[in-house]
Amino acid sequence: MRIGVFICHCGSNIEGTVDTATVAKASLDFPEVVYATDTMYACSEPGQDGIIQAIKDKNLTGVVVASCTPRMHEPTFRRAVERAGLNRYMFEMANIREHVSWIGKDREANTNKSVDLVRIAIEKLRRDAPLSPSKFSINKRVMVIGGGVAGIQAALDCADGGLQVVLVERESSIGGKMAKLDKTFPTVDCSSCILGPKMVDVAQHENITLHAYSEVDAIGGYVGNFQVQVKKKATYVDWTLCTGCGACMEKCPSKKNPDRFNEKIGPCTSINIPFPQAIPKKAVIDPTTCRQFVKGKCGVCAKVCPTGAIKYDMADEIVTEDVGAIVAATGYDLFDISKVTEYGGGRYPDVITGLQYERLLSASGPTGGHIKRPSDGKEPKNVVFIQCVGSRDKSLDRPYCSGFCCMYTAKQAILTKDHIPDSQSYVFYMDIRSPGKMYDEFTRRAMEEYGARYIRGRVAMVYPKDGKMIVRGADTLAGTQVEVEADLVVLAAGAEAAVGAPKLAEKLRISYDKYGFFMESHPKLKPVETNTAGVYLAGSCQGPKDIPQSVGQGSAAAAKVLALFSKDMLESDPQISRVDIKRCVGCGKCIITCPFKAIKEVEFRGQKKAEVIETVCQGCGLCTSTCPQGAIQLSHFTDNQILAEVNALCQS
C-alpha cells in the first residue's frame, strides 16, 4: 500500500496547539507511508484538490487525514478520494481537533498525541479493503409522530409531495399546543383560525392516514424499511359510526371532570370531544371517571347516541405500519409550577400557568372568552405575570431559556387590556428575549401602548390575603422591593420535553439530552436530522420553539424525507459483517445475538453456516465479538484492525 497522510491546520484551530509540520514529518516514518504533508484547510476546495493531486502524483492507494472528528467530515473526504479514483473506503481519519487541540493547551503533548492518533489511523488503513455498497429498495411511506403544528406541517408537505403519510397523535384530536392558544404573537392573529384550515387539510388529504388517540408502541427495522407498531387506545366509541354530534356530551351525567384540553381549569364530561374544531371530531370516553366503568351502571350515552357508536367493551388495538422514514414531532409539555412552592401554584387557585390563561382568553374556553379568575369567577383588575418559572433556573435543574414565554406574556398583557380596559398588567422579568421579526416592537407596544408595567426582577413569593394575591419581588432597576396586590397571577411556566419523550427516543434509537429533548445530528448544520438514518425531528421535541420555527422545521423535515425518497433504491453502508465460511462452525450464536435479525442460517455442503443479509446488517459488530471462532468479522472494524490499533499505541 502507498499511503498519503494529510495533517490539517484547520486555520489556527489545530495549528494553534499542535505542530502539524512535526506530525507530518513523524508520519513519514510509519510503515507504507510514502507522502505526508500539512495543509491549511483539508476540507476546503484547494485542500481537497491537494489530496486528489497527491493521490495521482504519488500513486497513493490509501489516505489518512488528520483533522476534525470523522463524524463531521468523513463523508467529505471519502468523496474526495473517490474522485481521485480510489475506493472511498481506503480512507481513515485521525481526530486531532475535538480530541486533541481543543481540549489541551500543551503543544508538546498535543503534537505527540496527534502522532499517536495518526499512527493508529495508518495501522487501521493498512488493513482496510475496498468496499462497495449494495442497493436496497425503500418503502416510500412516512410516519409523522405528533400532530401539533410542526407535525401537521411535516405531514401536509410530505403528502403534497406525493408521499403516503401516517400521522400518529396521542390525544383524540390533532392541533397540539397551538390549538389551545387564543391568539398568536406578534400579529395577534387568531390561533385556531390559522391552524384550523391546516387541521381540516390533514383530515381531507387523500395521502394522509390519521391515527388519533394512538401511541407508538414499538419500532423495528431501519431506514427505508421501518415497521412501527401503533397502539390505538380504546376510545369506547366506534369512530366509524360517531358523527361528532355531541348528543352524548349533553346527556353525560358525569360533568365535573378536569378538562385536559382546558388545562384543567374547566370541567368536562366523561364522554368528550375536546373542542369544537377537533380533528377528528369524535368522542372518547374516559374510563377513570365514566360511571359505566366506575360504578358499572349508567349507559346514558349508549342510549342517546343516534348511531349506536358507543362500545363499552372496546380494547386497545395494535396496528403495524410499514414506513421508510419517521418524523418525530412530539412537542413539549409545561414545567410543573407546583414545584416552585414559593409561588403557590397548585395550592392557590388564582395562580395559573400561561397556557391556562390562554384558555381563559379563548372564546372556546371554559369562560367563553371572559377573563374570570378560577377562585371566585370575578374579573381581575390587577394581573401579575411572572416570567421564567422553570426556565433559566439552575436551582430547578432547568438552566435553559424556554424561548417563547417573553413573547406570549407580552401578548397576554395586550389581550388583558383588550378584554378589561381598566385592568393593569405587571410583568416581572429577568431579561426580555424577543429576537424575531417584529418581536421586539411587539413587546414595546405592550409597554407603551397598552401600559403593561414591566418590572425587572424576580418574585420572591406569592401569598393570598383578603381575597388578593400579594406578589412580593425585587425591582432591580430601582433597587427596591415591590409588592403588588394582584387579583390573578399568571406564571410563564417553562417548556419541558414532552412526557414520555425519552422512551420514544429509545424506541427510535436516537439520542436525547439530559432534559429529554431529542438530539439533532449537528447543532448548526443538521438541525432536523438525527444520527439514526431515516429519522428526522420537527418542532419543540428538539428544544423549545415558537410557532414559525416549528412550522419551518416541519417543512424542513418534510424536505429531507422527500429528498430521501427521491431515489428508488438506497445505498447500504458496506461496513457490515461478513462470514468466513471456512471458520464458521454453525453454532448460531451470532444469529441469536443480532438485534436486527440480519444473520440467517444457511446450508453449505450439508453443513450449517451463518450468512449475513447485507442490506439488513447495520454494522454494530455485536456478532463479531460474540463469535467464538472469529469467523464473522465486521468490515473495517475487524479484530485484526482493532488489535493493530492497540499494538500501535502500546508497543511504540
Binding site: 412552592t341 403557590g344 395550592r347 401569598y463 390575603k465 383578603d466
Partner: protein, 299 residues
C-alpha cells in the same frame, strides 16, 4: 423503644425559652423518645461567632458534637433553629480536611464527624413518627385553629438542612394536625420575623412581625405556633411594640408547638410553662376546646 438522642437545649433553653425546653423534654418523655443531656455542653457560637471567624464558629459547635460522639450517640437534637444551623454548618465545614485540621487544633479532643444534628421537630417526625404521635393523643386539640410558623432558618439553606420543603414546610402542620388541631394554611410560614433587629431596629421588626400577625389573623388563626425562641420573642414579647408602632391591636398567643403537643398528650400544666409567655394561650385554648366539646355534645 427508640434509640437515645443527645439533647442540646441551647443557651435560650436555659433562659428566654425555658418553657420550650421544658415542654420539649416532657413531650419527648411522654412519646418515649429518650433525650440524653450532654454533660458540659457549651454555646454553639450563635450569630456573633460566625460573623467573626468561621474556624472559631465551627470549633464552638464541633466541641459539642465531639462530646456527643464521646457518648456513643449518633444524633443530637436541638429545639433551636439557630443552634441547629451552627451544628449542621460545623459538620459541613469539617468535611474539608484543611478546615477540620484547623478546628481540631482548637478542640480538647478531635472531632471525627459522624454526629447528625437535627431539630426536635425532625426528631419527632422521623424518630417517633406521625402515627405514633397521633396514637398518643389524649386530649385532641379539636376546634383550635392554629397557624404554623417555622421561621426563616428552620429549613434553609435547603442543601444544608435537608429536611422538609424550604418554601412550604409541612412537618409542624402535620404534627399539629395529628394532635387534632385545625391547621390553617399560613402563607408566611417561612418569612423573616426580623430576628435580632429587635434591639437595634425595632421599626423593622414591627413591620415584619406586624405582617406575620396580620396575615395570621386574616387566615383565621386563633394562635401562631412557633419552633424558634427568637421568633417566639418577636411575635409574643414585642406584640405590644408592634401594636404601638402600627396602630393595631393584635392579641394573638404565640406558643411553642411543643407546648400545644403537651396539652394534647395530657402533660401536666406546670411542665408546659404557659405562664412564661406574654400572652397566655390558655384562655383561647380552653375556649376553643370547650367550644368543640359543646358542639360534640350538642351533636
Amino acid at each position: 423503644m427508640s434509640e437515645a438522642i443527645a439533647y442540646y437545649p441551647g443557651c435560650s433553653g436555659l433562659g428566654t425559652s425555658k418553657e420550650y425546653d421544658a415542654s420539649t423534654r416532657a413531650v419527648c418523655r411522654t412519646l418515649g423518645l429518650d433525650l440524653v443531656d450532654i454533660p458540659d455542653w457549651s454555646c454553639c457560637g450563635s450569630t456573633p461567632a460566625h460573623t467573626k471567624d468561621h474556624v472559631l464558629s465551627a470549633a464552638l459547635s464541633a466541641r459539642n458534637l465531639q462530646l456527643v460522639s464521646g457518648m456513643g450517640i449518633a444524633s443530637a437534637a436541638t429545639p433551636c433553629p439557630s443552634c441547629l444551623t451552627n451544628l449542621r454548618t460545623a459538620n459541613h465545614r469539617m468535611e474539608a480536611p484543611a478546615m477540620a485540621e484547623k478546628v481540631n487544633k482548637l478542640l480538647d479532643a478531635p472531632y471525627a464527624g459522624g454526629v447528625e444534628a437535627i431539630s426536635v421537630l425532625q426528631a419527632l417526625v422521623e424518630k417517633v413518627g406521625l402515627d405514633e404521635i397521633k396514637a398518643a393523643v389524649r386530649t385532641p386539640l379539636t376546634g383550635l385553629k392554629v397557624a404554623c410558623y417555622y421561621g426563616c432558618i428552620m429549613n434553609r439553606p435547603p442543601e444544608l438542612m435537608a429536611f422538609d420543603d424550604c418554601e412550604n414546610p409541612m412537618a409542624m402542620d402535620n404534627v399539629l394536625s395529628a394532635m387534632g388541631a385545625t391547621v390553617v394554611p399560613f402563607p408566611l410560614k417561612v418569612e423573616c420575623c426580623g430576628a435580632s433587629y429587635g434591639i437595634p431596629r425595632q421599626d423593622i421588626v414591627a413591620r415584619l412581625t406586624g405582617k406575620l400577625l396580620d396575615v395570621a389573623k386574616s387566615v383565621g388563626a386563633d394562635m401562631v405556633a412557633v419552633a424558634c425562641p427568637l421568633c417566639q420573642m418577636n411575635l409574643d414579647l414585642r406584640q405590644g411594640q408592634v401594636n404601638r408602632a402600627l396602630g393595631t391591636n393584635f392579641r394573638i398567643p404565640v406558643p411553642y408547638f411543643t407546648q400545644l403537643m403537651g396539652v394534647a398528650l395530657n402533660v401536666a400544666d406546670e411542665e408546659l410553662g404557659f405562664g412564661q409567655l406574654c400572652i397566655d394561650p390558655r384562655p383561647v385554648l380552653n375556649k376553643a376546646l370547650s367550644g368543640a366539646d359543646a358542639q360534640a355534645k350538642g351533636a
